[in-house]
């Protein structure tokens, strides 16, 4: 995992995601999910491209099912953009870099 991302848990979700002063991209993933591995380098790239303007948090749903359930995640990878404590964008599946970048960019000031 790249150093530009944070590990999210049920315990720190409130502080790291919902209370974040800047927009947050949350990557709901799991170790047993092939497509999650496919999209991981794309998420890392987005994190380094938008460093300082976007926080990227990776939540392993295996250990943090409560956060996943709370936001209705039923398929992984699910990538959600949070702004001001609210989910404002959801991208489901291993999407190409351009598509994820577009979904993120429109929520960045």
């Amino acid at each position: 995992m790249s150093s530009d991302t944070i590990t999210g848990t049920d315990a720190n979700f409130e502080a790291e995601v919902l209370q974040s002063p800047i927009p947050v991209l949350v990557d709901f993933w799991a170790a047993w999910c092939g497509p999650c591995r496919m999209v991981a380098p794309v998420v890392d790239k987005i994190a380094s491209d938008h460093k300082g303007k976007l926080k990227v948090v990776k939540v392993d749903v295996d250990a943090n099912m409560a956060s996943a359930e709370r936001y209705g995640v039923m398929s992984i990878p699910t990538l959600m953009v949070f702004k001001g404590g609210k989910a404002v964008e959801t991208v489901i599946g291993a999407v190409p870099e351009a598509k994820l970048a577009e979904a993120v960019s429109k929520h960045l000031a």
Partner: protein
Amino acid sequence: MTESWEVVIVGAGPAGLAAAVYTGRARRRTVVLEKAVPGGQILRTDRVDNCPGYPDGVDPRILMDNFKAQAVKFGAVLERAEALAVKHDAAGWIVATDKGEFAGRAVLVATGSVYRKLGVPGEADLAGRGVSYCAVCDGAFFRERTVAVVGGGNNALTEALFLSRLARKVVLIHRRAAFRAERILQERVFALPLIEVLRDTVIDRIEGRARLESLSLRNVRSGEASTLAVDGLFVSIGTVPSSDLVRGLAGLDDWGQIKVGPGFVAAEGGLFAAGDVTDACPPQLATAVGSGVQAALSIEDYLGRA
């Protein structure tokens, strides 16, 4: 900027990486382009039980990491790049990607395939909201729930068996009476009371507001319609070849598969194709490997003559 290689392989699944082992050992400068991570569609499954040499089955993640390590060991270079176009000029082939151009005396297209969608109302709206294309990825969200699997091939039955370990009930829906899947998989599925099998049945519509609630079914023999309440639907009805890259350069069949001749030649002058993007390779690990190796041997023969 254009990088020059002897062999450019597009796609790092079983076919592309097996070919890279051979072209690498032939000391041909080889680059393998992969838009995501090496491994391919096989990473969507939890366990491979029909890979020769692994009597106890093998985790596809470990297997594909080993494929990659072996290709790299013999000199192949892996690049994370998405191929956008293939062009032919006097000097050979050029693969244009999001990371620049890769020129090759020979190009092997091993781009594989992507899962096929049902194409019924409600599917797009409820994808990721109960409709899934990967049981291994999403099965855990349906613990103690009722799920359906649609399809009749190896993947569909493998997914039904995987889900039967998590779900309260699994309904396997197939449009025909007979299943295409291996007999051993059929025996396992039919032996489990937890799995209900609906034959000759199609899904006309997927219903649900915020999330999947039910499926509108129709028996194709009797015409009888019914509704099945489910929490999840796993679509496993085969794949669509990722052949757009060579449309116009190589012949495609009615399903979009690249038509290959002996030696997995896709077009004269050094264009080859292997794996399940072609019309000569069933979507199996071992056949993908075999086709990749045959293509690599054919590439070596071509480079030796050219």
